[in-house]
Structures are given as structure tokens and as C-alpha cells.
């Protein structure tokens, strides 16, 4: 064209494109519109409350009728969650002997979910996938099915000492196992069994970047599942702590990179990893340094007396970076196939030191700045505070008061002790807030003690260094306690949960077996204000420890990322049947069933096999909508699966019982849920059309 030079033409184009782009964005919600994600009718926005005189009268009447005081009304206002509102925190709690983990919303205290770990659980389809269920296989110990666990201490994965919301570990005291839960789908991915000891206690605790998961033992034993009589206790029994290497990319513990440390046969108790100032160290309490062997039946003092004779036990101070270096340098010996750094090596390499601690303490908890270790006395009314600075100095200057029977140097108590605070009877565990306070559970007093820390953090609390501030009664016999992110480098100081072991009269009587009582305390205000604002019965197992994480830190999937997802591998499975792939194929006596599940049918709806066939059954849940979960059960064959949206599952079993078995969806998935079924026809051997007994019946009725 002649009407404009090429340069002008180009300029014009540019201008026009710019104008076009500007026009395209003419409406402010063009982007939202592009996505089409604009809500028409949202949930009602909260407006500032104004109570009319009529409403006030109504409120007063309800309060008086229900015998509520103003504190109760305030507590209700702090904890009540209107329908549809989400909790601020998630409490991941040990499920005690249920072998599970519970997730509870805070402040509402509503149970959100249980997560099966050590105990097969049918709703989640955990351990109900046929004859050789991989979960049940992983729960076997020495080939023996062990289908429960005594879950004690959950540990959220950490990055730089703060919860990152990615993984959760949980220890099983009864069987010395660790479970690894992926918090993308809240599903247990791995159970590892300690090869050295049958039972443990100090698990799980993580190092500040979750390089290792610490599993401390408890009752002295012959490592590697060995045998010895109590006469040989000092010689043959040992304690231990295992450092499980965590591979974050794989979301699994790497057993090949893990190792253990041999410890004297004292009974190691709780542990905590150092952080910031104490990074590279971890600490374990102990009791029974008396090495009592009990035998009340033979007239010896029972353990409870024998193990409590001495005034002091030993705080184990472990330099885990040195231990890691020694392991990598090949200084570990194999016991039952597992690398173990022997006591002599620990002493030689300066990995292990002891510090005296008052009588049979329970918890050791590192302060948020990592500078102090708080040891709760249990049988001593104090918390004893150690300083990492003093410990490092004492080790460097070799300020040892003695050596124990196994040659481990014992640091001088006065050289490492920073403070002792008398709190009351039965101090067990300690948590922290953002206001310079520590909170310690007092088992015998049935109270939560608030006390002020010393050092730099003391500046935040008005009461001064190392002072008891308040004791709030709880009901009753508090064990662990948990403040919001209260064991991290940055506690929130928002809520505190008292895990009260006894509930006695707090709830309606539920027979001789009573629930535990999780009590919520409001710790937002400083000083002596620290009321209990909610009681919540936990009627499943006896939980031990819990951790409270801000809900917005969790990056939980709403549904599996793709249809055909294998949750065990956390990837799309090439084996997952696709739409159109469905069918039954046979090779000899091996039958492969490829099935899809979508509201509201399974495809195929009839599966015909012969008695004795080995069936591999693959199901893909084709759903992508949130909460469109299906179940799949075959009655009489102990099969029940949870088919969550997008999930792929495979199971194998031998059809060794002839008959016609309805299979059906066990989740009420839709209006046509009852119709979502099919039949497994297991043809009896000898090709009879129907089992003989029924045939007789049919003949007789003619």
C-alpha cells in the first residue's frame, strides 16, 4: 500500500495492539472472568456485633437457664465456630493405643479426621486391600502381624526450626516404629521398624531442617532383639537412640543412611533437638540410672522404687553432627544389620556427655532461641534449666565431676545449670509462647504452670527472670501440653491444649472406661490470666503428645492431582485403568480386573472367575470433584477400599470361596449410591452351576 510508509505501518500496528490489549482488560475483573471463577452468592460477611436490648435479654435468659457465667459466654465466643467457618490451627495429636493420629481443629476442638498409621482402619481402606495388603505386610514384625501401635509423639517436619507443614512423623512406643505421613493427602506412606529394639519412647523428634528424625529408646534391652536374663543387665542390656535419615524429596525415611548410637542401659526418656544456638545437638532425659532390675515377685524392690533411688539421673547431651561424621567415616558396627556407634566410640569421639539432672525427670524441651534446655523434674518440683553456652564451655574445659560406669564423662552440675524454678508437683513437659513465658504441665498438681524465662527472652515478660507466674488448674492429671507452634523457633502464643489424662467427672459417664480430656487454655494475655475455655473428650485411645500448626501452613490437596494417581508412590500410575480400558482378562488361573468407578457405577458390573483364581483388581476413581469419594468392598473377602477422587488402587486376593458376592460402594456418593454395585461370581470347582446345597434346595422346592 502506498498510503503509509512501512515504518509508520509498524508503529500503527504496535499502537493498535496496545490499544487492543488495553481494551481486553477494560473490565477490572477481566482476569477473574477469564477464569470464570466469580462467586455469585458468597457466604455472609461478618459484621461488627451490635447487641440490641432484646437480644441482650434473650442472651441473659439463656445464660441463666443454662447456668452460664460471663466467663463461660466469653469462652464460648472464643471457641465457637459458626457453620462453615474454618479453624485457625490444626492440632495433630497422637491417637495413643488406637495406633492412629487425630487431626483436631483449634479453637473449636472439633475432630477433623483420624489418620491410620499402625492400625488397619477400614474407612480409610488402610490394610483392607486383599490377601497381601502391602500395608499389613509393612506392619509385620519378624514376620508376625502386629496390627496396633501405641502412638506417642508426633513431629511435624521443620525448616529452620519452624513447622513447614509438609510431613508428620509419629512414634509407636510398643513396637519401636515410626510412621511417615505426607500432609498433602494426610496419608501414611511408610512405617519403619527399629532393628535394634522392640520398644522405644523418645520418638519422634526432628532436627531443625528435618535431616534426621530422632527415635530414642526407653527400656534397656539386648540390642538387635537379643536374649539375656536380668543378672546380666549391666553387661548385656543397652539403651539406644536412632537417627533416621529423612529424604524429603522422596518423602521417605532412608533406612540405608540411618544409624543408631549405643547408650548405657539407663531408661532413656523424651528427647528434643537443639535449634539456633544449640543446632547440631540433641538432648535425652533418662531415669533408672540405678539400673534396677526389679523382681518384686522375688522380694526385690519393684521397678518403681528401685529406679527412683538416686537423687540425680543423667541428661544425655549428644553432638549429632559429630555422630553423623563418625557414621560416615565407617565407625559404626552392624547389629542385626543396622549400623550402631558403640559407646566406646561415642566417648572417644566426644559425641556423648552427661549432665546430672534431678531424679527421674520426664520432658526435656529446648527454648525457642535454642539457648536453654528445660528439664521437668517429674519426681522433683523444679524445672532445671541448662544453658547450651555453659554446656559447650564445660565440655571444652573438661569440667567433669565424674564418669559413669561405661566411661561417659559427666559434666559438673553447677557448671551447666542456668536456673531452677520451683513450679509444683509432678512437672512433666514444657512449651513456649511469644511473650517470654514457658508453660509446664504439673501432673500431680493437675495444673498448667506459666513461668518467665530468663536471658534475652526475659525482657518480654514483666515478671523478671525465672519466676512462676500462674498456675491454672486442669481436669485432671495433665500429661503433655501443647501451645500453638509452641516447640518451634517462633511460637504463636495463641492457644494451649492440656492433654488431661483423667476426665473423672467432666463428661457423662461412659462406663468404666473414660475418655481423655483435651482442654483448651487461652494464653493470649500476659500475667495471671490464663483461663480454660473448652473441654473436649477424646474417646479413642489415650493420646500422648500433640503439635499445633497454623492451618494456612498446610498445602493440602483437595483431590488427587490427576486421575489415576497412586498415593503410595505419589505419582500418576501407568497401571491405572482409563476410561475404555475396563474389562476382565485371564492368563491361566491369574485374572486381571480393570475397573473404573464414577458416580454412580463400577465398570465392569459383573466379574466372573473360577474358585481358586488369583485376582489382581485395579480400580481408578474417575472423580475430580472435592469429596466425591467412593468406597469398594467385597463382603466375605475382607476387602474395603477408600477410592478418593482421582485415586488408583490395586489389590490381589485368591477367590478361594465360591459363590456370588455383591460388591458395592461404601461411601454415600450420590443419589444412586445404592445402585453403585456389581457382582463377583466365583464359580465353584467342578463346574457345578450352583453350589450343591443350593441345588438340593432348588430341587426340593420344585
Amino acid at each position: 500500500m502506498r498510503m503509509a510508509s512501512p515504518t509508520r505501518y509498524r508503529t500503527m500496528w504496535t499502537l493498535l495492539l496496545a490499544a487492543g490489549a488495553a481494551l481486553a482488560c477494560f473490565s477490572p475483573d477481566a482476569i477473574a472472568q477469564q477464569e470464570g471463577r466469580r462467586r455469585r452468592s458468597g457466604t455472609q460477611e461478618a459484621k461488627p456485633v451490635e447487641i440490641t436490648p432484646e437480644q441482650l435479654a434473650q442472651l441473659t435468659k439463656i445464660a441463666n437457664d443454662r447456668k452460664l457465667n460471663v466467663d463461660d459466654l466469653l469462652a464460648a465466643a472464643k471457641t465457637f465456630m459458626p457453620s462453615g467457618r474454618h479453624d485457625e490451627y490444626v492440632l495433630f495429636s497422637s491417637g495413643g493405643q488406637s495406633g492412629q493420629v487425630f487431626a483436631i481443629g483449634i479453637p473449636s476442638m472439633r475432630l477433623l479426621r483420624s489418620i491410620a498409621v499402625f492400625t488397619p482402619e477400614s474407612w480409610q481402606g488402610y490394610g483392607f486391600a486383599g490377601d497381601k495388603d502391602p500395608i499389613r505386610e509393612s506392619l509385620k514384625i519378624n514376620g508376625k502381624p502386629v496390627e496396633w501401635g501405641d502412638t506417642h509423639h508426633p513431629a511435624l517436619s521443620e525448616t529452620k526450626g519452624d513447622y513447614d507443614g509438609e510431613f508428620l512423623f509419629i512414634g509407636d512406643k510398643a513396637n519401636a516404629r515410626l510412621g511417615v505421613i505426607d500432609l498433602r493427602d494426610w496419608d501414611c506412606k511408610q512405617v519403619v521398624k527399629n532393628p535394634l529394639t522392640i520398644s522405644d519412647h523418645g520418638a519422634a523428634f526432628v532436627t531443625p531442617n528435618t535431616d534426621y528424625v530422632i527415635e530414642g529408646g526407653q527400656y534397656g534391652t539386648v540390642l538387635g532383639y537379643g536374649y539375656a536374663l536380668p543378672e546380666d543387665y549391666k553387661k548385656s542390656y543397652r539403651g539406644m537412640v536412632t537417627m533416621w535419615k529423612f529424604d524429603r524429596a522422596k518423602g521417605r525415611i532412608d533406612e540405608s543412611q540411618s544409624f543408631a548410637l549405643e547408650l548405657p542401659p539407663y531408661w532413656q526418656d523424651l528427647a528434643d533437638a537443639g535449634k539456633l544456638a544449640s543446632d547440631g545437638w540433641f538432648f535425652i532425659n533418662s531415669f533408672n540410672t540405678e539400673m534396677a532390675t526389679g523382681g518384686v515377685e522375688k522380694g526385690s524392690p519393684p521397678f518403681e522404687a528401685g529406679a527412683s533411688k538416686r537423687d540425680m539421673d543423667y541428661l544425655h547431651i549428644i553432638d549429632w553432627k559429630k555422630a553423623e561424621a563418625a557414621f560416615k567415616a565407617g565407625k559404626a558396627e552392624k547389629v542385626n544389620g543396622f549400623p550402631l556407634l558403640k559407646l566406646a566410640t561415642l566417648v572417644e569421639e566426644g559425641i556423648l556427655h552427661f549432665a546430672p539432672e534431678p531424679k527421674s525427670p520426664h520432658g526435656v524441651d529446648v527454648t525457642p532461641d535454642g539457648k536453654y534446655m528445660v528439664v521437668a523434674g517429674k519426681l522433683d518440683p523444679h524445672v532445671t534449666v541448662y544453658s547450651i553456652e555453659r554446656i559447650k564451655k564445660a565440655i571444652a574445659e573438661k569440667k567433669f565431676s565424674s564418669k559413669d560406669e561405661y566411661g561417659v564423662p559427666v559434666l559438673d552440675f553447677d557448671a551447666v545449670r542456668e536456673a531452677q524454678v520451683e513450679l509444683g508437683l509432678g512437672p512433666l513437659h514444657t512449651q513456649f509462647d511469644d511473650k517470654g513465658y514457658a508453660y509446664t504441665s504439673l501432673f500431680l498438681d493437675s495444673a498448667v504452670a506459666r513461668w518467665s524465662l530468663g536471658g534475652e527472652t526475659a525482657k518480654k515478660a514483666p515478671e523478671g527472670d525465672w519466676k512462676l507466674v500462674q498456675k491454672t488448674p486442669v481436669q485432671y492429671n495433665i500429661g503433655h501440653l501443647c501451645a500453638a507452634e509452641g516447640d518451634t523457633v517462633s511460637p504463636d502464643g495463641n492457644f494451649l491444649v492440656s492433654m488431661s489424662k483423667w476426665s473423672v467427672d467432666r463428661f457423662l459417664t461412659t462406663g468404666p472406661l473414660l475418655p481423655q480430656n483435651f482442654q483448651l487454655l487461652d494464653i493470649v494475655q500476659s500475667g495471671t490470666t490464663m483461663p480454660v475455655i473448652y473441654d473436649s473428650p477424646i474417646g479413642v485411645g489415650e493420646p500422648h503428645y500433640c503439635q499445633m500448626i497454623r492451618a494456612d501452613k498446610l498445602k493440602t490437596w483437595k483431590v488427587y492431582p490427576e486421575v489415576g494417581w497412586d498415593p503410595h508412590k505419589q505419582m500418576l500410575s501407568p497401571d491405572a485403568p482409563k476410561k475404555g480400558d475396563e474389562g476382565v482378562t485371564r492368563e491361566g488361573n491369574k485374572v486381571l480386573v480393570k475397573m473404573t468407578a464414577v458416580r454412580s457405577h463400577f465398570k465392569p458390573e459383573h466379574v466372573e472367575v473360577n474358585e481358586g483364581d488369583v485376582i489382581t483388581w485395579r480400580i481408578t476413581a474417575m472423580e475430580t470433584a472435592q469429596d466425591a469419594t467412593h468406597g469398594f468392598c467385597i463382603g466375605g473377602y475382607n476387602v474395603n477400599l477408600s477410592l478418593e477422587p482421582g485415586e488408583y488402587t490395586e489389590f490381589t486376593f485368591t477367590a478361594d470361596r465360591a459363590g456370588t458376592y455383591p460388591y458395592y460402594c461404601t461411601e454415600f456418593c450420590s443419589a444412586l449410591h445404592l445402585e453403585m454395585m456389581g457382582y463377583l461370581h466365583v464359580k465353584p470347582k467342578g463346574n457345578a452351576a450352583v453350589p450343591a446345597k443350593d441345588a438340593d434346595h432348588v430341587a426340593a422346592s420344585k
Binding site: 487492543g20 481486553a24 477481566a30 443419589a671 444412586l672
Partner: protein, 231 residues
């Protein structure tokens, strides 16, 4: 150039005339160009949205139609539709979606042609782009109606949901769902393009009609044409 061809595409602009009244001739070209760009840009924006609300879908279900594809909760909506016996959405307007981008490119080129042709027949070339937004609605309505009225009588919910015509624009409802449908940015860009083409034609005729008249040697003097143009 043959006489017929010249009469079809109209007279070219004499260089001295173009120099004297550049904007008079540039205006329709620029407006057409803007329209063409809008049309092209519209490919990347949704033409139509539908939101479906039901109690068990607190975040709603969304369907977004671009000129050439459907996105959003298509799988879920198809899943629900099978209860009432409606065919999968992917089977609707398959040809239109496959052809849409080519059709828009063709319209783009035709409008470019319209700018180059100075006779009134240029209108014919621009006609597809001008009627495109209306065609879109008609086609959308056709498919919604076809799908809504041809439900599988054997479907599970056939007794409670009878054949119906879904609402193309605005608020509608089916079963426990409320539906809200509206045009998207892409559609409005196409409408703007059509409007610009109409406006462009005003300037097109204003610029070229006198020139066209002037080029008919048996009718008017060249000077008159120039006078007309300067008026």
C-alpha cells in the same frame, strides 16, 4: 487491470490526493485494523460463562467457552448430566469449535480486504465479521436447545427432570442447580469489532464514494470530485 476488476475494487487514491488528505483515507483503514485486532485478540478470551450453583457445590461449578474450546468443570458437569441423560458437552458444536480459529482468521483477512477495496462491495467482505456475534448466539442457543430437548429417556432422573431448554444468558435453573450465564470478554471484543466495522464503513464510504464517483469518466469531472473531497 481489467475494467471489471477495477470496478469491483474501486479506484486507487491518486498520490497527490492522499498527500493532501491523508487522514480522510487513513481513518477507515485504521478503524478496520482496530476491529481486526480485537477480533484476533478475542480468540484468547472466553466468549461465554456459565456458573452452576447447588448446595453440595459451595464453590460452584464453572463452564467457560472460548471460541474453540470448553474449560472449567466440564468433567463434573458431564458426570452430573448423565443422571438426566444429557450428552457430554464435548459433543456439542464440535465443528464450530474446530473451525472457529480459522473462521476468525478468515474474517480477519476479509476485513483487511474490505479496507483495500474502495467500492461499496467491500461491505460484503465485512459482513461475516459484523454478523459473527449474532451467529454465535444463534449457534449457542441451537446447541443448548438440541442438548436440552434430547435427553435420554432411560436416564436415572428422567422422571424428575423433563427435557428443557437451558438458559443461554441470565439466570436459569435445573434440578437443584441455579445457573447464571453471561457473555465473556471475548464475546464483547467480537461485538466491539463488529461495531467498529460499522463505524469504519461510515468513514470508508465518506472517503471513497466521491473518489469512486470521480473515477466514472462519463459522469462527473475530476475537479468536482476534488471539490467534494475538500468540502
Amino acid at each position: 487491470m481489467s475494467k471489471l476488476f477495477t470496478s469491483l475494487i474501486g479506484p486507487r487514491i491518486p498520490p497527490e490526493e492522499l498527500h493532501a488528505r491523508r487522514w480522510r483515507y487513513l481513518t477507515p483503514t485504521v478503524i478496520f485494523m482496530a476491529a481486526r485486532v480485537l477480533l484476533l485478540v478475542s480468540i484468547f478470551f472466553p466468549y461465554w460463562h456459565m456458573e452452576l450453583e447447588a448446595p453440595q457445590y459451595p464453590n460452584g461449578l464453572f463452564l467457560t467457552a472460548y471460541c474453540n474450546h470448553l474449560t472449567g468443570d466440564v468433567r463434573e458437569i458431564d458426570g452430573l448430566n448423565h443422571y438426566i441423560g444429557m450428552r457430554p458437552l464435548g459433543e456439542a458444536a464440535a465443528f464450530e469449535r474446530a473451525a472457529a480459529v480459522w473462521m476468525i482468521i478468515a474474517m480477519f483477512l476479509l476485513v483487511e480486504g474490505a479496507a483495500a477495496i474502495h467500492s461499496k462491495w467491500a461491505v460484503l467482505l465485512a459482513l461475516p465479521a459484523v454478523t459473527f456475534p449474532i451467529g454465535f448466539i444463534v449457534d449457542l442457543y441451537y446447541w443448548m436447545r438440541t442438548f436440552g430437548l434430547n435427553l435420554d429417556p432411560g436416564a436415572p432422573l428422567s422422571s424428575s427432570v423433563k427435557p428443557f431448554v437451558p438458559t443461554v444468558i441470565g439466570e436459569g435453573g435445573i434440578g437443584q442447580f441455579k445457573t447464571y450465564a453471561e457473555f465473556g470478554t471475548g464475546y464483547w471484543l467480537a461485538v466491539a469489532a463488529a461495531a467498529l466495522i460499522v463505524v469504519g464503513f461510515f468513514f470508508h464510504r465518506r472517503a471513497y464514494k466521491p473518489l469512486f464517483a470521480n473515477s466514472q469518466p462519463d459522469k462527473t469531472q475530476r475537479d468536482t470530485g476534488r471539490e467534494g473531497a475538500t468540502r
